[in-house]
């Protein structure tokens, strides 16, 4: 088993009085796809945002490459090489595709952006994701369809020389062919040695691409198992009830929110 590139230990997170994450342990290994599953509201997006530096964690530690790190801002996460495709995409509608892809990390001098360089790099990345029907990389994002936006958001994450990529329901708005491409991409990224986290509700997708499956149930990590050791129905049980046979919580009925 390889050394984890990213590891969370005992992470807690509350929003006001509501505790969303309870002592969560989570491990991402380089070269593997780790699926993060759980029902709506289980805390998957919150977990991702904690790692991305959007929400500070209340308690717990984050290790990157074995070293404890403090991620207090999105810039910290980006510097470590952590890229995130957010569930809500986080694109600025009024900016064009190139501008969105490089937002916050524009190339060139702050007083003279290198538009040519950015446009070419953006086009290369988009072409590698085979985005169809978009006629121009200079189109404002407001003019794109849901699937096209999703692809732009993914391209934005892939553009950087990163070590960990976390995708929060990246295929939710995609059609069949595009979903196929994203799943292939996910596999390809892992094969290139990146640690990939895939959040998805589609069990078939999860089983097809993931090496491990981590299940959140009401903010608790109830199972972190190798994909080949579990069946579809076991994972579904873990998601909905927090336990499945020997796996998961010992006594789910004792859990209170």
């Amino acid at each position: 088993m390889t050394q984890p590139i990213l590891a969370l230990r005992g992470v807690n997170k509350s929003f006001g009085a509501v505790q969303v994450l309870h002592d969560v342990d989570f491990t991402v290994r380089a070269g593997e796809v780790t699926a993060l599953v759980g029902d709506n509201g289980a805390g998957k997006s919150t977990l991702v945002k904690c790692v991305a530096g959007i929400h500070p964690v209340d308690r717990g530690e984050i290790f990157f490459d074995g070293e404890p790190v403090h991620i207090t801002s999105p810039t910290d996460a980006a510097k470590l090489g952590i890229e995130v495709v957010y569930q809500d995409l986080a694109l600025a509608d009024n900016l064009d595709i190139v501008q969105n892809m490089f937002l916050g990390r524009e190339r060139g001098n702050p007083w003279m952006l290198d538009e040519a360089e950015m446009e070419q790099a953006a086009r290369r990345t988009l072409a590698s994701l085979s985005v169809r029907t978009v006629t121009s990389v200079r189109m404002p994002v407001s003019a794109l369809s849901g699937g096209q936006r999703q692809t732009v958001a993914i391209a934005k994450a892939v553009l950087w020389d990163s070590k960990v990529i976390m995708l929060d329901e990246p295929t939710a708005a995609l059609g069949v062919a595009q979903t196929r491409q994203v799943l292939d991409l996910v596999r390809r990224l892992a094969e290139q040695g990146l640690g990939v986290v895939l959040i998805s509700h589609n069990m078939a997708d999860v089983f097809e691409v993931s090496d491990r499956i981590a299940t959140l149930y009401l903010g608790r990590m109830v199972a972190d198992v190798a994909t080949k050791d579990v069946t579809h129905s076991q994972v579904v049980e873990l998601i909905t009830a927090g336990r499945s046979g020997e796996l998961g919580l010992a006594r789910p009925e004792a859990v209170t929110i």
Partner: protein, 493 residues
Amino acid sequence: MAELKQPVTEKPLPEGSAEKASPASLRAEDFGIDTTARTTREAVRDYVRNLRNGELGALPALAGLLVLFVLFWILDTFLPQGSGGTFISLGNLANLLQQGAGPTIIAMGLVFVLLTGEIDLAAGTASGVTAAVMALHFVRDGNLLGSLGWPVFILFALVVVVAIVLALVVRIWVAAVFCAIALVLLLIGFPPNAWLEMLFAITVGVVLGTISGFLVAELGMPSFVATLALFIAWQGVLLQFIGEGGTLGLRDPVIFAVANGNLSTLGSWLLFVVAAGGYAFVLLNRQRSRRRLGLVAQPTGLVLAKVTAVVVLGAIATALLTVNRSPGAIEISGVPYVVPIVLALLVVGTYVLDRTKFGRHVYAVGGNREAARRAGIDVVRIRAAVFMISTAMAAIGAIVYSSKVGSVSPTAGGGNTLLFAVGAAVIGGTSLFGGRGRISNAVIGGAVLATVQNGLGLLKQPSAVVFIVTGLVLLLAAAVDVASRRRSATATR
């Protein structure tokens, strides 16, 4: 959830078929469409489609300006109460530029704030305060302490010190430097000097803008409330500085010349060469390099048409403005100084918004603040900075309008000044919803408002009519904005 579906794929793929299923390189041409040179016809078609989709930009305002011009020309020439053609006279056109410049500059600064989706209601009276400080300093021989009195002077100095601290808190060093210059100028009591007075006004503008920026960006107050409060407070400061019913005359040749002086004939043509030549050079150069690198580019024909239009119109305007326009014995000719002033601010502002990191981030904050934050942009800093820019620009506008009038009174920058500036930005195509707009919008919108007021004035219409018509023009602009937003919303999804 128990029922698990196999994904429907185009063709069944064996497990772990990553490399087989990557059609990546084959589809590069999907993005090739925009690299190939579009013909002018295709470009025109795309342009029409953009218009249909609601990407109107400055077009309605430009069309409106043209219509207004022709309308006033005809009405003024043929209506009995008209002035028989004064509207289109050279003297009036120059006057129009000089009258419109002050409010237009305030509007240009406001665009920065509007782009972030905020409003700066305080910019108007803040500009009045900067004008008052300048005039007071000038009229009282640099003795602000004597003219304000100890308590007010010390309070004012304290406000400036606080602004330095606030600028440091929001990490905008340039603003801190400007505030420090304001403090130095305030304390040293330099003898009256037109250039230093103007610098003083601008630095005081940064001081006042820093306060707005801090309240909105760092403390998170809604900009409407924070700047409404400051709007009222600055009005009080202005009254305190000048005194009720007081007026401070600005009888200095340099300050007077800002809005009333003209370039020499040679200077006018030099301006034309620099401005039109620079415009042509930048556009053509960019076109050439984008073509060469295979980037998205407009059709060369369209670029040439734009350049030609600007050069020809610029030459005509320069030629007309270098003709003697005085009915009396003393010759008045040359392009008014306000033209290079507004042009310089337009060029710098446009450059900052289009080509710098800061400008890009201003748009991002206005388009999706959360996305900007997630992209690692220091949103607080950007939001604070736009208020500083807005108020500093308002100070420049104040210098121009005070110069035009030749004095500063407690009404300077008050009343409708600010709302007209907002109106100018909106009429030009800046969206109040944030994220959409350009500096040039403010210039076009400012020209529309100035034309309406000037034209109706020549038709001897009472203020009542002027206000109503101005309101209707603004309403029309807002309607166009809403309609275009609705179009672009439905056209996309």
